[in-house]
Amino acid sequence: MKIFVLAEHRDGKLNRATWEVIVAGQHLAAHLKGSVSAVLLGRDIRGLAEELAAKRLHEVLVVEDERLAEYTPDGYTAALIEVIRQEAPAFVLMSHTYQARDFAPKLAAALGKALISDCLGYRVDDGTVIYTRPIFQGKIHADVRFADDPPYLVTFQAGAFRADEIEAASEPVPIRAIPIDLSPVPIRTRPLEVFREAKQAVDLSSAERIVAVGRGIKSEENLALIRQLAEALNAEIGASRPVCDSGWLPMDRQIGSSGQTVSPKLYLAIGISGAIQHVVGMKGSRTIVAINKDPEAPIFDIADYGIVGDLFEIVPALIKALKQLRE
């Protein structure tokens, strides 16, 4: 049984999430007595192929083409359709990155197959692989399986597997080029420059303490309360996406998949429900405190200390208690 893992890269560097998915593949191969190979698409990617070949894989499959020099959904889909046709893998595993989200559903549709996306893990039950994925922003989980024939396309959420569990190869595994002629493929989207909006004025990644605020704060005026708390704690202020979308705090305060990734000693999540997009950016924090009125909020799943209640009552009391501590 062939298990393929698609390696993702940008600017000559492999995405860290690729290692996690290789770990997923290595686990799955052990369960199903299969082999794992990495698939790498691009141009001038020999170095990346060699990096992959140092891991315990069956082989590294490489498609090099001018038309894959930059990522496009048309180019990637056409190349992968051909890889899948020639090699007939049973599984194609990917990370649920923004890039995979851009082409993997297209690939699945072009193949007439299902894609099970954003998986947190899997188990093998009587020979059937059952995937667990979050629904309702992570409040609930769902068990899902394929109801169709292979190839099975799966994306795993960042952090679902631990990159440091990757098994290395005792000697480099073979690298094999797959010849594919992409010249007849129309590439309809034209990728232009990649850029950062503004210089990241605030680097939250080195903050020791962060007070993060979410939708629960209700209005911009109420942020004064959060500023007082941050001051009392000597903490930086962070926010979940909706707060930045509303323009209440600048985008460089945003924590989560589209913002910064942080791992402070103390993370106070105030009025943040804990949608996955936020959690991936802060779950590495050492001590997490959550204040939320909804006892079912997923933020409590990762909190060390939870307070179910009205933040407009709790936070002023907390500011007072912290001031007393100082005095």
Binding site: Y98, R101, D102, A104, P105, K106, A108, A109, A110, A114, L115, I116, S117, D118, I135, F136, Q137, G138, K139, I140, H141, A142, D143, V144, R145, F146, A147, D148, R188, T189, R190, P191, L192, E193, V194, F195, R196, L233, P242, D245, D252, S257, S258, Q260, K265, R286, T287, V289, D294, E296, D301, Y305, G306, V308, I314, A317, L318, A321, L322, L325
Partner: protein
């Protein structure tokens, strides 16, 4: 410019959800509903494009009878007409089949652009828009934060990860999935709400789309849903706000040692 907006109705955010007895989905009775947040941004973007360039905005939603409320809201905000894909056979479809039904409905319309949210709050597949593009043979871009209309083309700003963006050009007709925060969605005005009552909501069922239930067999099966077990043991602090604050400070100081 003729723009179609695909939107989904989902339970209001921050509602406490319960599971149904069989544990196969949430208990839907007594819930209140709203337009999926990224879809609301997609609608706003469509309305702004129409205001700038002229044309028509058609909203399309697949779902049970309650979905009419979401379509009325979109009409009240300024959409011109609506398509409601309504059939018992459409219940519980996976991403591929939902896109399949949408594709059949939209094939019958001529359009320049399809907009939809990047994912839904309920299933969160982040797939339906992209599959729809493929089924209709359209180029697409996902997680879009800005749209510029050029001559027969679009230039869009895609969000990448960790604060990075990329401009991408693509020809029309095209499909874009919209990220929350691209604009500030408007509220419906009273005049809009009154006007919406006269606007058309056309219902399309399985047979109207030339599909059979047999063709819509799901390719992925939702087996069961459940509340996740906690990754961490959370210590909940209770009492009056003052008591809670005092206990938290003590915990952070002596247990977690972060103060």
């Amino acid at each position: 410019m003729k723009i179609i907006v695909c939107l989904k109705q989902v339970p209001k955010r921050d509602l406490a959800l319960r599971l149904n007895e069989a544990g196969t989905w949430i208990a839907e009775a007594d819930l209140s509903w709203e337009i999926n947040e990224p879809d609301a941004y997609a609608l706003e973007e469509a309305l702004r494009l129409k205001e700038r360039l002229g044309g028509e905005v058609i909203v399309c939603s697949l779902g049970p009878a309650r979905v009419e409320q979401a379509l009325r809201e979109a009409l009240a905000k300024g959409a011109d007409r609506a398509l409601h894909l309504l059939d018992p056979a459409f219940e519980g479809l996976d991403a591929f089949n939902t896109a399949r039904v949408l594709a059949e409905a939209l094939r019958r319309e001529s359009f320049d652009l399809i907009l939809t949210g990047l994912q839904s709050d309920d299933h969160g597949y982040a797939q339906t828009g992209v599959i729809l593009a493929e089924l209709l043979g359209l180029p697409h871009a996902t997680i879009v934060m800005q749209i510029e209309v050029l001559d027969g083309r679009l230039k869009v700003k895609r969000e990448l990860e960790a604060g990075w963006f990329q401009w991408v050009e693509l020809p029309l007709p095209a499909l874009l999935t919209i990220q929350s925060g691209i604009n500030q969605p408007r509220y419906a005005t009273l005049k809009g709400i009154m006007g919406a009552k006269k606007k058309e909501i056309r219902r399309l069922a399985l047979a109207d789309l030339g599909l059979s239930a047999q063709e819509l067999r799901n390719k992925q099966e939702l087996m069961r849903v459940f509340f996740p077990t906690k990754a961490k043991r959370t210590e909940f602090l209770e009492g009056t706000p003052e008591e809670i604050a005092a206990r938290l400070v003590e915990k952070l100081r002596y247990e977690a040692k972060v103060l």
